[in-house]
Symmetry: C2
Subunit: 419 residues, 2 copies
């Protein structure tokens, strides 16, 4: 079938530190998600270094897009060159924006008072950051760097600062700027469907997709935190096809289904605990607090997280969570019996409704033939007598084993709470 | 000065899930770091969707590089198209590699036995994954997808699978493959210098750099985990310039210096604790186990991590860590006094040499005028009487505040242990 095409957008992220691998880029994924949600088809994310020629080449490469969003290169250091390169791409000179210079000066002054850093380093930064391509719209700084909306002979270019907090803070103002708002007004919306499965391999979804008519729905799959996310993006006017496909996938893989509305295990678990007025407590060995921290991630978690103990040593298991020393001696610290005692101990010590215990061999050392690296014992117990236990061998490195253990524990918690 | 240029490399990462922002790309940063360390200048990282036209355009765009590494698109689903597009780019047909088909069949059979998934879905996946461009070198699978080394009229192209574990596992074999090894043999090496600073703004480094002769040294700065990483990359033959610059930066910003050899606070802290035979215990409120988990991140951490308590409620602070209820009533749960009691309580309950207490307002709710969101109290105490306390107001979102609190706690721990 034929359907209206979505306009294409591209993201150009600058920063040599991203190319030397010092830090992973957070802005490309964030902007991609935003642009996709607005109805753009994101064609490329390019990461380029702080070299003017490479940035210019990247802008040339994405010249056919309707919208290009750049991030970074607006800072005070000499390697921050985005304003200059975008001005050249637009064919206009840079000019000092006096209003912006004063605004930035005010921000920097407050910052200098607070931190004690100041002087000539700041003045130079101020002037550099207030240079604006002629005719461009300057967006007020969230940190100290203003953003830009620049019309060019090719795409509309939105220039945003590199720090994710500043970029995300400036995004609403960028969308509200005249030329961007005009572009957005012309885009038909077709919201995507999001399904989530736990413990289902991608190849099973692929097999199902080969047996059905997918129509014009774009299907992407992605494994994150042990959950397979399946996104179904219809073209506008073909939303029914996405709904039908979602129903088929949910039915075929029902045993693994987490949600049909994109909600994660974490979100659902928080809702279920709140609905019951229950609290949860953790007794962690190999995960070392990662599960507690994951539970506390969400705002408002104090309503359902009682607390936890990181019982890394045998003494801590016994002293803080009441795991009998004889139980550890009889079965070993990594055993289903000790996982159960950790869960019960955490529940009892914190007066919680649900307890979860995790003990395992995260590696790289410490494995034996009977209990190899990756062997992890889980137990969830509830005040009303539910018990769920597992002791899988999880693959991967030390951090893989710890992360997968945390994922699985969240999943088991949800099963226990749902009952 | 003139210096031998470094050959350029580019990374092309495929995956629509990366463009819709579902997941951040881990392979681009990892490959960038590896390629930089090998002496390449990484010109671009491109993320493209699972659309053949976009992948082909990306390969065209980086045609001038000496080496292109791709990741992803080798899986069993229909959106996995990298082999096909790279073959077209090289101008050769795809052929079934019978040896590879059998190898993959063996791997899949073992996997099917273990997981219970199998049948036609797997057989189709097998055949698709064993298709190899004529004349290319197939690299043995780490998961189920083989990699490829493909000579083209332009750059040498290395095709790797998308899952980071598989990609990283296959990397040594890719480097050892004949054409890649030959390319590497011709690259002059000039190792980078890495400096790290805690709590130093980028603008201060920029100011220092304006006062000295930087020569041909490429300087990149990057803020991660509250540490400013400064990388100095000399051109081969000019290593002295990088050493001189490192010495100047270290001297000017000595108060903030963490290390001159790239070691992180985490690495140094582990070394200092091991050297003294000391153990550490945590009493965490707002960070909720994130600090304990960070301490346990490193292999061998059981030698110096005693354990920790996530004391999210007042009752838990009192019951598990002995924080007097009157102290909480008098000063509030978020106070320097309670942070101190959490540190002492953790040290005493776990019999540790060092205790650290954290209590704060992570937000978004719960702030007051006196104790706003971001106000966090820290205390580190040692068995031999050292006490370090701080109570800053940290900026940012709930997760920012929790992460920065963890960063600062690691830094304070190191200061206390070093004495």
């Amino acid at each position: 079938m034929s359907a209206p095409a979505r306009p294409r957008a591209a993201v150009v992220v600058t920063g040599s530190e991203l190319l030397t691998g010092t830090i992973p880029d957070a802005n490309g994924p964030w902007l991609s998600r935003e642009l996709s949600a607005l109805g753009f088809e994101v064609s490329h994310v390019l990461v380029v270094g702080d070299r003017p020629g490479d940035l210019a080449a990247a802008l040339e490469f994405v010249r056919d897009a309707a919208l290009v969003v750049t991030s970074g290169g607006l800072g005070p250091t000499a390697d921050d060159l985005t304003g200059e390169v975008v001005a050249a791409f637009a064919g206009v000179p840079l000019e000092l924006d006096e209003r912006m210079r004063e605004r930035i000066a005010g921000i920097l002054e407050a910052w200098a008072r607070r931190t004690g850093f100041g002087g000539p380093a700041l003045e130079e930064a101020n002037r550099k950051q207030a240079m604006v391509p002629r005719g461009a719209i300057a967006l007020d700084p969230v940190g100290t760097a203003p953003g830009l909306v620049v019309r060019t002979p090719g795409p509309l270019v939105v220039v945003l600062p590199g720090p994710p907090r500043e970029l995300q803070g400036m995004w609403p103002a960028a969308l509200a700027a005249g030329p961007v708002a005009a572009l957005l007004a012309g885009i038909p919306r077709a919201p995507a469907r999001h399904l989530r499965f736990f413990g289902l391999p991608e190849s099973e979804i692929a097999a199902t997709l080969r047996t059905v008519d997918v129509g014009d729905v774009e299907v992407t799959t992605c494994l994150r935190r042990s959950e397979l996310e399946v996104d179904l993006r219809p073209v506008p006017g073909d939303e029914d096809a996405a709904d039908d496909l979602a129903a088929v996938l949910a039915e075929r893989h029902e045993r693994h289904l987490v949600s049909m509305d994109g909600r994660t295990t974490d979100e659902i678990l928080a809702g279920e605990l709140l609905a019951r007025g229950w609290t949860v407590a953790t007794g962690e060995s190999c995960t070392g607090g990662m599960l507690a921290s994951r539970l506390v991630d969400r705002a408002g978690s104090s309503d359902y997280v009682a607390g936890g103990v990181v019982a890394y040593s045998n003494a801590a298991k016994t002293d803080l969570l009441g795991v009998p020393a004889e139980l550890i001696a009889a079965h070993g610290a990594v055993s289903p019996e000790v996982a159960r005692a950790l869960a019960d101990g955490a529940r009892s010590r914190f007066g919680a409704d649900v307890g979860v215990g995790i003990t395992g061999v995260a590696g790289p050392g410490g494995g034996t033939e009977a209990k190899p690296v990756g062997y992890v014992c889980f137990c969830v117990t509830t005040a009303d007598g539910r018990v769920i236990a597992r002791d899988p061998r999880l693959p991967g490195s030390r951090s893989d084993v710890r992360e997968r253990s945390t994922d699985l524990a969240m999943h088991l918690l949800l099963r226990a709470v749902r009952g």
